[in-house]
Structures are given as C-alpha cells and as structure tokens.
Amino acid sequence: MSLPSTPSDVAAGRLSQAEYARNFADAHPPLTAVQALLEAERCYYCFDAPCTTACPTGIDIPTFIARIAQGNLRGAARTILEENVLGGMCARVCPTEVLCEQACVRCTQEDKPVEIGLLQRHATDAYFAQPGAPLFSRAAASGKRVAVVGAGPAGLACAHRLAMLGHAVTLFDDKPKLGGLNEYGLATYKTVDGFAQKEIRWLLSIGGIELRPKHSLGRDVFLDALARDHDAVFLGLGLAGVNTLGMAEPVDAAARAAVDFIAELRQAASPAEVAVGRRVVVIGGGMTAVDAAVQSRLLGAEDVTMVYRRGPEAMSASDYEQQWAQTNGVRIKHWAAPQQLLLADGRVRGVRFTRTALQGDRLVQTEDRFDIEADMVLSAIGQVFEAQPLGLSLELKGGRIATDAQGRTSHPKIWAGGDCRAGGRDLTVEAVQHGKVAAIAIDHQLRA
C-alpha cells in the first residue's frame, strides 16, 4: 500500500464537552415509572417461565415483573437480588436478546419480547435509590474462613453469598478498585454515574467481607498458603492475558489491546482525556470489539472499521450488538484476517488483511489482500487464562480451570468460577451464578 501522506493522527479532546457528555450518557436510558408499568403489564406470568430458565442465575422473572406492576418495587428488587446480587449491573450489560428476552413467549406471538432487562434495571435502580432496611442478613457466624481471590462478578457474588451464610470472607484483588470487568471492562455508556462502585458498596454492606485490594496472586499472596490458612478458597481470576494477532509485535502504543483501551476510558476522569485515532481498526467479532469500536466513534474517531475473519453469524457479538455498532457508524467487514501491521516512522498507519474463505468447515486464507488505513489498531480477538500465578497444579481444561458443576476444582479446598473456569460463555451473569453456586457448595462442605 501507499501509506497515507497525512501525518498519523491520534489525539485526545477531539470533541466538545457537550458532545462527550452526550456520547457517554446512558446508552439505553432507564424506563420512566409509567413506561415500566405499561411494560410490566405485558408480562403473561408464564408457568415455569422460559425467561427464568434462560437466565443463568435463574431469577424468577415473572414474579419480579408482577411486583413492578403491583407497585412493589422493593419486592421486585429482592426477587432479583436474591438470585443475582449483581442484578443491577446485569440489567445493564446482559445480552438479554440472547438470554431471557429471547425466550419470552411474546417473541412467538408478536416478535416483541417483554423488556425484561430494562424492567430489571427499573426495579434495582429504585431499590438502590432508596435501599431502606437491608434486604439480606447474615446467618450466625460459622467460624469458617474463606478466601475469595478476584473481586469481579464471580468473586463478589461468591463473597456475598458466603457472608450471608455466616462465613468470614477475605476478598483479594490485584487492582486498586473492586469489580473486575464491571469496573475495568465494560463500555462506559453501559454503566454511567459510577454505578459499578455504588453496587459494590451496597453488596459489601452485608458485612463479614474483609477487603485486600492491590493483592496480586502469585506476587503478594499465594494459593498454597491461602488454601492452608483458610477453610476454602474461591478463585474468580478472570482472563488476565490477551490473544495476540500473531503479527510482528507492534512498537507503537497506538496498536494495543482493546481491553486496555476500554479500561483506560472507564478509569479516565473524563473521556476527553482519552486519545483515539482519527481512523481506527478493531480486529475481532465479540462484545469487546464492539465496545471498543463504538467507543472509538464516540470519542470522535472519523472512520472505525471492525474486521472479523468469518461471517456475521459466527460473531460472538449478538445481532443486537452488531446493529448497535452499525448504528453508531462502525463499519463491519467480514471474512478477513490481519496479516501485517503497516508502520511508518514507527507509527501505525494501517493494517494489511488477507481475505478468508471457508473450504468445507475450514477457514483458509486466500491470496487476496487489502489494506485499511488506520492511526490506531485495537485487537479484540479474545482473552486467555493465565495459569502461572496459581503456583500449584490445578487441572485445566482448554486452558482454563476445570471444575465440576458446583465449581470445585481438582483441589478439594479450592473452587473456581467466572471466566477462568472452563466451559462457559464469558458472561457477567454466568460469573455471578458460578460464584453463587460455589458459595453454596462451599457452605455444604464446610458444614458437612
């Protein structure tokens, strides 16, 4: 390719304050009280409701919706939070279009499910605005101590349930703030107004959870010692590594992992501080790619292209997410694999792609190539579990920690859940369920 003659353009502060405020406001504003009431009245209160079956945490959805319709928002919030203690965040980030709402019987009848996610947000927002008396209380102290490593959705859910069941919990995380991907990983417009930390403060208010932030496993704390000093250990370590593109490793900071870009934006005091390329290429087809691409546009990037090596149906971002990206002006290009990062004077100027095709079931690269100009390249081709900090040998499966259905690992005192556990869909709501189920299993074992 002839590299662009214009200089590389990566800059912060591309937009006015008003534009930033508008772009990073709530992407899907909450329902008003009237909207919530009308929507709640659409629920048929199904028997053995398919939406509940489709919810990884098994929230009794018809019950919470009926309670909204009856003006019992506290009761609705209890129904949600007793199964999913992070029900407020899940209401914001769950891909409901492939979970509860996909199962809604209204889809069959009229192709328009009850807006379960927005209703869940309505109930939990109302509760968090005026929590009143605690919803949950702790059982009598068991005298047992459990270490929870990782304060993401899995660890938080596990810690909360263990605390409820009367155990003493110590919660470790290597980051300064708790929350894991809730704090560092989600698109900014999905969780405005510091909701992640607000929710965590409420969760911790149950008591019995001692916090150890900035404690990194394998550096500041060690699994063998934790297992020795506690009655049980839960690992909610997430995926600390990112897949690399397999190209010559870039030297320019403008070629980076999408997760880092997303985290920088979440942690920035203002989006105006975050630099973005004038032209951005995002490589990958999942939710992380969508979040990175859309937020690049919202930060003022002129051209943003998502490039994915297969067709739209194979993308792990749902149809809804893909449309969301396109609505925000992101171009999605399919059937292309990155081949070479194009640099000039050490600066990213573009990416060379090879067109891909299916031969039978196998994805192959063709001879056909093309270049896309870019000042910034974000890779979002998946994250990987880093086993090394474990320090001791736990059985892995597909590179992640192998467990039984309750989350017990090959070590009798260690459980695991969330993205680090083998065999999930890497969803926040699944991580919550892992944490909850493991806590109940740990409780059974400790009381056996």
Binding site: L38, Y44, F47, D48, P50, Q109
Partner: protein, 433 residues
Amino acid sequence: MADLSTTFVGIKSPNPFWLASAPPTDKEYNVRRAFEAGWGGVVWKTLGEEGPPIVNVNGPRYESLLSDQRRVIGFNNIELITDRPLQTNLQEIRRVKRDFPERALVVSLMVPCEEGAWKAILPMVEDTGCDGVELNFGCPHGMSERGMGSAVGQVPEYIEMVTRWCKQYTGLPVIVKLTPNITDIRQPARAAHAGGADAVSLINTINSVMGVNLQSMRMSPNVGGMGSHGGYCGPAVKPIALNMVAEIARDPPTAGLPISGIGGITTWRDAAEFIALGSGTVQVCTAAMVYGFKIVQDLCDGLSNFMDEQGYRSVQQMVGLAVPSITNWNQLNLNHIEKAVIDQDLCIQCGRCHVVCEDTSHQAISATKNGKRHFAVLDEECVGCNLCVSICPVPGCISMKALQPGEVDKRTGLTVSGDYANWTTHPNNPARA
C-alpha cells in the same frame, strides 16, 4: 349498507345508538356535538322538578377501574341529576330537537313520588317537542337518599304507580329505567309493564366503592376525605346487564316488552349482543366518557358491516334472536360432551393453561412431551370446563370440540349417545319426575 334505522316504541332514530341519560347529555352544547358526531339519539340527562336545582359536589365525581395497559374497564360516578334550572333545560331541548328532528330525543325525569309532581312536569316536557320520557328509577346515589331514583326502582309497587301516573298525564312514550340494585330484575320489569310502560331500559349503575387510598386510609373517590358509594358502570358490568336484559326478555309476563339495553357497551359487538338478547335500541355512556363521541361512527360501521355479512337487512330482524338460547340450568343437556383442543401452531407456550388446570381444575393439561415444554389436553381428564380457553392469551389457540354421537368420552369410557338428557330426569336427582 345495512339499514341501521330503528323505530323504538314509535320513536325513530337513524341508528340504534343512543347516549344514555348521564353527564354526556347534560346540556345543549354536548348534545349538539353528539348529534353532529352521528349519535342516533340521546336521553337528556335527568330533569328534576321546578325550583332551585340540586347541587353537585365540587370534588371528584368519577373514578375508574383500569385493566392492563390503562384501559378503563369499570367506572363510577356520584353525579346527581341536572344541576341546572328546569326551564334552561327545557329551552335547550326544544332548540336541539328543532335542529335535529330526525334524531331521537328522550327526556329523563326524576321528581318526588307524588302524583302532583309528575303531573306538573310532564306537560312542560311534552311541550318541548321531545320524542319520549324515561323515568329514572335507577340512580343509586344521592337522589335515592331523598326517596327518588333507585329508592323507587327497588319497590315494584311504586314503579307501577308512577308509571301509571305518567301514562295518564302524557301521550309521549314512557320508558322506565330500572336499577340493577335488586334481587330479581323481573319484578320491577313486570311492575313497569303492569303500569303501562311502553318500554324498559336497563341497567342503571350498580352500588360501588371504587377503592381505598391506602396512604390516607380513606375510601376513594372521596370529597375532602369522606366518600359515598357511587354508581358503577363500564365494560365490567356488561355481563350483569346482559343477564338482566335476557331475564326480562324471556320472562313470559314481559316477553316482547321493548327494551333499551344499557351496560358497558363499548363496541358494535357489545351492542349486537344486547340487541340479540332483546334490546331494540342500546344506550351508551361510559365509552363516550372514555373516548369521546366519535366512537359512534365505529359502532355504526361495525354493526353495519356485520349485518351485511350476515344478511340482516334491519336491526329489528336481529332483536331477540339469541333469547331462545337462554334457559334454566336444569334444561342443559348433560349428555353433551366437549374437550379442549390446543392448536400447537398458535401456542406460545406460556403454560398458564397447564398451571391453572393443575392448580384449580382437573389436571387435564400436560406440560411436557418427550422431556420438552409442550402443552396438550388429556382427554381422559378434561371435563370441558373452558377454563383454559378463558385464560389463554392467544386468540383462537385453545378451542372446545364437541364429541359426536358414537365417539367415546375417554374420561368416563362411555359412548356419546347423541340423546338429550337433563337434570330433571337424571338418576342422581332426588326430585326427578
């Protein structure tokens, strides 16, 4: 297009849709708007005797009962009869009738239960050129405390007496409006008939308290903290009204007595049902108070299209057609057997039919098939109760199918005979003939 015109006790109207005596027909302004919108007739809101008019409360007079999606299904009011001077009303009635001669204009009346009071007002009303009078023996609130309205309608002897006075002092058709706040609607209807009434109209509103404000622990609606029962109407009362209309239509002493049907009529279907059970005209109030006068165009259009489709050339042809289908329970055919059938192509799998049958009825709907969610009727348990049909959210998804002679009822193992047999001859009936 079908001919919607009606002649009811000699009163002609271009369609059978009259506005009932109520707030929408309180004064000239409203009635002109109603006629301009296309209403076939109005019953002018009840006039009282000459003198200082009654007064209404200045707090809430109305409150509604809402269904899902904020639809009004029930409505309550504590408004009294007209609170404007008699002469003002009479002048307006005269002007409106002059300008809309082809519309029906009936005047509702309520004066004390004294012959002189009726004798005094009737000539004045007749002088307006109106088409008839309706005697308000129905209002259940306020006026009834003063010995009028439903206080009269609850005493058949008074109904007969006052009706007779009215027939004596006016040549206008006399329609007697009945209260449903009574045990047996046939008694006041018979009394009206005996007194010489040209027709009855029913139902008036039902005694009701709409609710309680749980913050203040006061009934609602209330006026400055205190409330009084009101009159209930709207779609929720339609079944009660249909029964009462049918009771009168099939009661031998009153069979053939013209009926103006009232009670929750909102759509042309509602109206057609009242007509089929014996109503020569229908009266509407709540629907107009909820949606405005324009609905009469939908009522006319719907009824007309239905009649064309069915081949009815006049409203009169339809009057009472369904009355013979109503009988006493002891005449029902106990050999007739139906089973529910679920259309699997329409089923959205909400499962409500299953759970209500399981919890509250006959355990006749299964929830799974080959381990998968699937709702199907178990003929060996189904008694044909129609609960599942009644609660299914999908129109036409569950239907009832009658077993034909020769088929075996899997629940009892008996072959359907096709013979008619009712309770009066059933072996379990200790009083059988």
